[in-house]
């Protein structure tokens, strides 16, 4: 497949690793923000091919993992109501709420459906005028254009049985939170390539300047990730802190203007609670009040939620890069992908699931 095979070429992979090894003179700690990159690093064993003086720390870029427990509990409560068809991206169905998950709600006889796209949920709403269709609109900036478009499309089609349960998160405020923490160890960032496809990378320039930290926009194939690491290492060794683009076939500085316009039309910035981490100011998007007719939190009377988190799950520390999954006492014994205690073991992008799946059980 064009634009995939070239970026999995083993000669290139080893050539870039050799150049990284030639360039590096001291120990450096680099965070890959995006869980998709974490999985690629584990899948291809890149962490084991790199010099030992590079420590890769896995960031909070897994929307399934950071969607707050309150929001999961609200989803469970709405999905349990009669005449509701609850639709969601597949990963969310196994995320544990305070009591059960969306799969258990479906097993109780409720209508919970996995969709590939928010537009699939629109089609379900058109086909089921006597039902209320709720779409669980989670995600980072990458997913926001799709979720926002579904609201405008519902409006255009005059649908009055479609709403979104919105839990959107944004990367730059999370980077501020990580870099501003007294526990921070991160010296360089791989920025998430598909977030930047939508938003561009102009937002990262003031972050690089403020914290004097190199940030490199990075893709998802092995060659892409190693290029990002090489660029970060070169900056660190030369004492530079600029924003560079190692994913230029997809990402440009301004991002996708059409997508940003639709996001701005539908969503507004809000404080957001991240599961395991807590509130990060300005780190979320919510529906503007003019779209209240499409806001599931307004449309459904969800009782006051008092979430109860597993006492054993320490995913917050993992999401902040403070510890590794293998350091958790529950990892691979009480907590497995079949019986996850926390969202980082559920998601296809969660760091715990990546370590479990690709055999980093030490």
């Amino acid at each position: 497949m064009k634009y995939l095979n070239e970026y999995r070429d083993s000669n290139l992979v080893h050539g870039i690793i050799d150049e990284i090894t030639r360039s590096i003179r001291q120990k450096w700690v680099i965070m890959e923000i995006c869980g998709g990159q974490t999985h690629a690093i584990m899948k291809y064993g890149l962490d084991q091919l790199l010099p030992e003086s590079i420590e890769l720390v896995h960031g909070p870029g897994c929307p399934v993992c950071v969607t707050s427990l309150e929001m999961i509990d609200k989803a469970l409560a709405i999905a349990s109501q009669p005449k509701v068809i609850f639709t969601s991206y597949g990963d969310m169905l196994r995320v544990p709420g305070s009591q059960g998950d969306l799969f258990s709600v479906r097993a109780s006889g409720n209508d919970v459906r996995v969709v590939y796209s928010s537009l699939d949920a629109i089609n379900i709403a058109q086909d089921n005028p006597d039902k209320k269709i709720v779409f669980f609109a989670i995600g980072f900036e990458t997913t926001a254009p799709a979720n926002a478009m579904s609201v405008l499309q519902a409006q255009k089609l005059g649908l009055n049985n479609f709403s979104l349960l919105v839990s959107h998160v944004r990367v730059p405020p999370a980077m501020h939170a990580i870099l501003g923490s007294p526990n921070n160890r991160i010296q360089g960032f791989l920025a998430a390539g598909h977030v930047c496809t939508v938003m561009g990378y102009w937002e990262y320039v003031p972050i690089a300047q403020k914290y004097k930290i190199p940030i490199v926009v990075t893709g998802f194939e092995p060659v892409d990730i190693l290029q990002g690491i090489l660029f970060v290492i070169r900056e660190l060794e030369e004492n530079k802190y600029e924003v560079e683009n190692a994913y230029s076939r997809i990402v440009n500085y301004e991002g996708n203007q059409a997508a940003q316009k639709i996001i701005e039309q539908v969503f507004e910035e809000c404080d957001q609670k991240w599961r395991g981490i807590g509130f990060i100011p300005g780190s979320g998007w919510r529906l503007k009040s003019e779209f209240n007719d499409y806001n599931a939190e307004e449309q459904f009377q969800v009782r006051e939620i008092t979430p109860v988190e597993s006492p054993f799950c320490i995913s917050g520390k993992i999401l902040q890069g403070l510890i590794k999954p293998v350091d958790c006492p529950a990892f691979a014994n009480q907590c497995t992908p079949e019986h996850p205690l926390g969202a980082t073991m559920v998601s296809a992008e969660g760091a715990c699931a990546a370590y479990y799946r690709y055999g980093r059980i030490l």
Binding site: L119, T143, K156, I250, N256, A259
Partner: protein
Amino acid sequence: MCLAVPGKIIEIYETNCLLMGKVDFGGVVRETCLAYVPEAKVGDYTIIHVGFALNLIDEKEAMETLALLEAISKQDPTE
């Protein structure tokens, strides 16, 4: 969640006033919303996330990056 896959646009049309298309992912063809890449033409490569094309793939940039990386990887380590 933020996974996105490259594919080739093989058909462009409108459904419910929304720009849509068929995209070929190495043999698997899926319907995709092209509203965010209105400049797209049949034959262009694009990157798809949850049923939406997020951008077109820039072939010139792709070739330049590969040329740069090939030059890096063929460096003589003794130089």
